[in-house]
């Protein structure tokens, strides 16, 4: 008798519990976002450009979203290790990641395990134009000198590696009749040394990454790949004005997993917009020699990334 009663009570309890859960389910979906810390994955090691961006914007995001954003560095495989970590989390908006052009460039190879459609960009945060640099004391004073010399003898260009955006620029100019030879230096220190020490004639890099060498009058740009001239380097021509349409910017974006609720993407995107609008952030962009209009909101970011990938594909060597 007692047993039966207990059983019935238990059954009732179970039903009630299940019922309660069922009723609560929609409530979870409607839950205020964010209500707990958001993991901010940086798919590169500490100290690099991707890491600096995350550390720069995290405090502002924390303020705007009202939760903390622990930054986690997961380096490896040109940013794919960290990306995979973010993509393998639930699409609930509690894991976001930095995503940069170098990782996007991997899409040119068919073998990547992820697709652009696996992610939803929340915003493009920074776009840095690149340039060809020479050492300050180089006999090559201008791009004209470089062109003239590169028709006579092969010039060495320090790049990060074969198949990188750096290399694509070299390949492009080889197609225009110049003799340029990419020499891969994966470590920035060795790449900078190559041009400063006269071991390479030219170097390809983002302007912001060599700021100290530019300020210190150790190297200077001879051709900048941007839409218009930089106020700081108003004597340096852009590729565009010389008829070279190739522009592959280094961009860094914040992305979320595809399938995340649109309202949540908007919440993050709005917070990013707020950070990007601050004077502090604008000063930082200026210091990094970045495009003042770097910010691209969520609505246009996916199309932007696709456009960048198309530009890379356009200039990649045909196989």
């Amino acid at each position: 008798m007692t047993t039966a009663l207990t059983q019935r009570t238990l059954l009732a309890a179970c039903i009630t519990t299940i019922g309660a859960f069922a009723a609560a389910a929609p409530a979870i979906a409607q839950e205020k976002y964010p209500s707990r810390p958001i993991e901010f994955v940086v798919p590169w090691g500490p100290g690099g450009g991707a890491d600096q961006l995350a550390r720069k914007i995290a405090p502002g995001l924390e303020k705007a979203l009202g939760v903390s954003l622990p930054v986690i560095n997961v380096a490896g495989a040109t940013g794919q290790t960290g990306l995979t970590k973010m993509l393998s989390a639930a699409s609930d908006g509690y894991s976001i990641s930095v995503f940069i052009a170098d990782t996007l460039a991997l899409q040119m190879e068919a073998s990547t395990k992820w697709k652009l459609t696996d992610m939803t960009p929340a915003a493009i945060m920074i776009q840095q134009p690149s340039a060809f640099f020479v050492a300050e004391n180089s006999p090559l004073k201008s791009w004209k000198d470089v062109e003239a010399e590169a028709k006579k003898r092969p010039l060495k260009v320090g790049v990060t590696g074969f198949g990188s955006a750096d290399d694509l620029h070299v390949i492009y100019f080889n197609g225009k009749g110049l003799k340029l030879q990419s020499v891969p230096f994966p470590k920035p220190a060795e790449r900078y040394t190559s041009v400063l020490g006269g071991h390479a004639d030219l170097m390809y890099e983002q302007l912001g990454d060599v700021k100290s060498f530019l300020d210190g009058k150790q190297m200077r740009p001879v051709l900048i790949f941007a839409d218009k001239r930089f106020p700081a380097f108003k004597d340096v021509p852009t590729g565009k004005e010389l008829g070279h349409g190739i522009i592959i910017n280094q961009f860094r974006a914040v992305v979320m997993k595809a399938g995340t609720d649109a309202a949540r993407v908007k919440a993050v995107s709005d917070a990013l917009a707020k950070v990007a609008g601050t004077d502090d952030y604008k000063t930082w962009l200026n210091d990094q020699f970045a495009d003042a209009n770097s910010f691209v909101p969520a609505a246009k970011a996916a199309a932007f990334m696709k456009g960048e990938l198309d530009a890379m594909r356009k200039y990649a060597p045909k196989k």
Binding site: G45, P46, G47, G48, D51, Q52, R55, V71, N73, P154, K156, G161, F162, G163, Q181, S182, V183, P184, F185, P186, K187, P188, A189, E190, Y192, T193, S194, L196, G197, G198, H199, A200, K211, S212, F213, D215, G216, Q218, D287
Partner: protein
């Protein structure tokens, strides 16, 4: 040194001595010691892990913390190398060639004393050079390029082959096996998969850590297991009163100290190589030109001092191009550069002028760091040698645990642990059949560096390998390396000739 920089340096010391900064300095030193002792955690990885903690700190303590870690990280790995034959860092591989035999002879405390003195001397000389001559010597960094990097590494490979113990042929076989192992994985230059057999973990290559820890640490344990953990009783450590070498002993080896310090500073300044290459190269130089070169590898202090002086001296060297030009001279300085950048400072000639107080605080922290490190080392040595009084079987159990942890920590991958065990067995078999293991470990560590620099040289000079012999610095180093390689052969032939007569 002009009056102005002297004032700045004094100001730097004052900053380091501020309680908060001094606290972070001590924390940095202790962290560096820990990182160096753990075989799976390399110095560079340790500094990378510490970097995010410095973001919220002010720039000066952040730089002090990381610099302190870097200084002490080149030192403590010697302890495990000497006591257990487990190199805590790749830097410490050359240290065990003489350090471990010395410890087995019952002179562990003395061996530890030599490393302490070597680290102190190397660190101080390099730090002084850094302060006095930073601007002029920084130019060395720019004169070296891939052919010179290759030549340095080639010399490192060549010089140690001649002392592999046993025959040159065996040493070369072992070396090439190591270089071949190092080629496993995705090639850095063209991205080709080599010997990966479609296995993802192999695509990332065979970590040198796995080979180093397995072949030395685990291999040694297997060796002892065979003897039933009853190797001949060591001299009681209690009998040894002197820990630090006497001044006369040290003075007798002044050439070794000076050579090592110079090699360390120069290798430190050059961006293509860090403490590891410095340590190998310095041992090689000692084995080639030292007074007691024929006894190297048998447990003489020169074999401990040469690599340790160079390793610690490379710290000061690597910081020179960082502060003067913004070019990091090594892996760890690249991370310190990151710390500067995150605080909105790009080191270079500008920062040297405008934010000189930070640069001089960094300089001062190297000096104070070395002193704190040596003080900790001095007191730790006393207790560490007691470990050798423990039953061998217990020590061995700890060594095995350390090896397993180290192999796992490197990439958080269990496959690495199995690979480490396999290399432990290989190391044991090599040892058992008196086949030298050292050249193989050397090949695994230096092979990838040699390859990358050779490829860059080839690409850079239109596949013309003769540049290695036409560029002045490269050709000089290559010539020395080749003499090193042929000398044993020459001696052998002369010996044969005499025998016939």
């Amino acid at each position: 040194m002009d009056h102005n920089s002297l004032t700045l340096l004094a100001h730097g010391f004052a900053q380091v001595m501020m309680p908060v900064n001094l606290l972070f300095l001590v924390v940095g030193i202790v962290l560096g010691l820990l990182v160096a002792v753990l075989p799976g955690l390399t110095l560079v990885m340790g500094v990378v892990l510490a970097l995010p903690f410095t973001y919220s700190m002010a720039v000066t303590p952040a730089i002090i913390l990381l610099t302190a870690m870097y200084v002490s990280g080149t030192y403590a790995g010697a302890w495990t190398s000497i006591l257990f034959r487990v190199p805590g860092e790749p830097i410490d591989v050359p240290l065990l060639w003489d350090g471990y035999p010395m410890a087995r002879k019952g002179e562990a405390a003395k061996a530890l004393g030599w490393t302490l003195l070597a680290a102190f001397f190397g660190g101080m000389v390099a730090a002084t050079t850094m302060v006095l001559l930073a601007q002029p010597v920084a130019k060395i960094a720019l004169t070296f390029s891939s052919p010179e990097y290759f030549a340095i590494i080639f010399f490192g490979l060549a010089s140690v082959v001649s002392l592999g113990g046993g025959t040159l042929a065996n040493a070369l076989i072992s070396l090439f096996a190591g270089i071949l192992l190092a080629t496993v994985g995705v090639d850095d230059t063209y991205g080709a998969h080599r010997f990966t057999f479609g296995v993802p973990i192999l695509a990332d290559g065979i970590d040198y850590l796995v080979v180093m820890v397995g072949a030395y640490g685990l291999g040694e344990v297997f060796m002892r297991m065979e003897q039933g953990f009853q190797s001949p009783q060591l001299a009681r450590t209690g009998d040894i009163r002197t820990r630090l070498p006497r001044l006369t002993e040290a003075l007798a080896m002044k050439a070794t100290f000076i050579r090592g310090a110079l090699a360390g500073i120069v290798i430190g300044i050059v961006p293509g190589a860090g403490a590891t290459v410095a340590s190998f190269l310095s041992y090689g130089i000692e084995a080639q030109y030292g007074k007691r070169r024929h006894k190297m590898g048998t447990g003489i202090p020169e074999g401990i001092v040469a690599p340790q002086v160079a390793a610690t001296a490379s710290v000061g060297g690597a910081l020179i191009p960082l502060v003067t030009m913004g070019i990091p001279g090594s892996g760890a300085t690249a991370i310190i550069l990151g710390a500067f950048l995150l605080h909105g400072l790009q080191p270079g000639p500008q920062v040297f002028q405008t934010s000189s107080h930070i640069i001089y605080a960094l300089f001062a922290s190297v000096f104070v760091g070395i002193i704190v490190m040596c003080a900790i080392g001095y007191f730790a040595t006393k207790y560490m040698v007691k470990v050798l009084d423990l039953p061998e079987v217990i020590v061995s159990a700890y060594v095995v645990m350390c090896c397993l942890l180290g192999a796992f920590a490197a990439r958080n991958n269990l496959t690495d642990v199995w690979m480490m065990v396999i290399f432990g067995i290989i190391g044991y078999l090599f040892e058992r059949f008196r086949f030298p293991i050292t050249p193989m470990v050397l090949g695994v560590i230096l092979g990838p560096l040699a390859e990358a620099n050779f490829m860059t040289t080839m690409i850079s000079f239109e596949n013309d390998w003769t540049v290695l012999f036409t560029r002045p610095v490269a050709s000089a180093i290559m010539a020395i390396a080749i003499i090193t390689l042929i000398y044993p052969l020459f001696r052998y032939l002369r010996h044969q000739g005499k025998g016939r007569r």
